[in-house]
């Protein structure tokens, strides 16, 4: 798994490439938490390059959704592939996470 971060105004776009599993999920949490610690609490996780996630990835997302919301922000998902979206659906995550078709719409969903 590789993670890249790009800032767009007050929003950090965290792009995740590869597979998120029990081995890589702690790195995902740490990349997202780094943004929160630095004061950026409006996060977009760009899943365009994420070809797989297990429940470990979902737990990482849940942890960081809670954390960003506690700080008045949110973690929103963009460009989630069909198979990965199914994992989110099977786990009831589409009702607690906001999922957008692309990064632009996810970024625009945050107040400027």
């Amino acid at each position: 798994m590789e993670v890249r971060v790009e800032k767009r105004g007050s929003v950090a776009i965290v792009s995740i490439d590869g597979s998120v599993d029990g081995t890589s999920a702690p790195d995902l949490v740490s990349s997202l938490r780094q943004q929160v610690t630095a004061g950026t609490v409006q996060l977009v996780a760009d899943f365009a390059g994420t070809d797989y996630t297990s429940s470990a990835g979902l737990r990482a997302l849940l942890e960081m959704v809670k954390e960003t919301r506690q700080h008045g922000g949110d973690l929103r998902l963009a460009s989630v592939r069909r198979e990965v979206l199914r994992v989110l659906e099977l786990s009831g995550f589409t009702s607690i996470l906001q999922v957008y078709p692309d990064v632009d719409s996810a970024v625009a969903s945050f107040p400027a």
């Binding site: 029990g22 797989y52 297990s54 429940s55 737990r59 849940l62 942890e63 198979e83 099977l90």
Partner: protein, 129 residues
């Protein structure tokens, strides 16, 4: 974990299974093996985990054999799927996903031969082209 997923991916591909089915089986095996590593072998020396894949008629049969602490499916926590994020708890998702994916699950445990989880899933052939 990636090694087990790669094994399932390759076996699935060789069997000519549908890609979406391969994804689901990879996920189910990942969850089962992760549970063994995190819970089953917790507090003891990690032991062997053997995963096998077979096509039996129109069913895929995957077995996961181990010598970890026995697992009692009826005691596994059910995740609360209909509550807000603030009330969601992280546990139980792995077993929940396995149950969602498999058509049938069998679990046997014995002090002599260890544990064996069998997942059975209807075979769906990859569409041609």
């Amino acid at each position: 974990m990636a090694a087990f997923r790669n094994f399932i991916e390759e076996a699935c591909r060789r069997a000519g299974a549908d890609e979406s089915l391969c994804f689901d089986l990879k996920l189910a095996v990942d969850e089962a093996v992760s549970n063994l590593v995190v819970h089953g072998y917790e507090g003891q020396e990690p032991g062997p985990i053997k995963v096998s894949f077979a096509l039996d008629g129109d069913e895929i049969v995957i077995t996961i054999a181990d010598h970890a602490a026995p697992f009692y499916p009826e005691h596994a926590p059910e995740p609360l799927l209909d509550v807000p994020a603030s009330e969601r708890r992280p546990g139980g998702l792995g077993w929940h996903l396995i149950k969602q994916i498999a058509d049938r699950l069998e679990y046997e445990t014995s002090p002599e031969t260890g544990n064996r989880l069998t997942m059975i899933k209807k075979f769906v052939r990859r569409p041609p082209g």
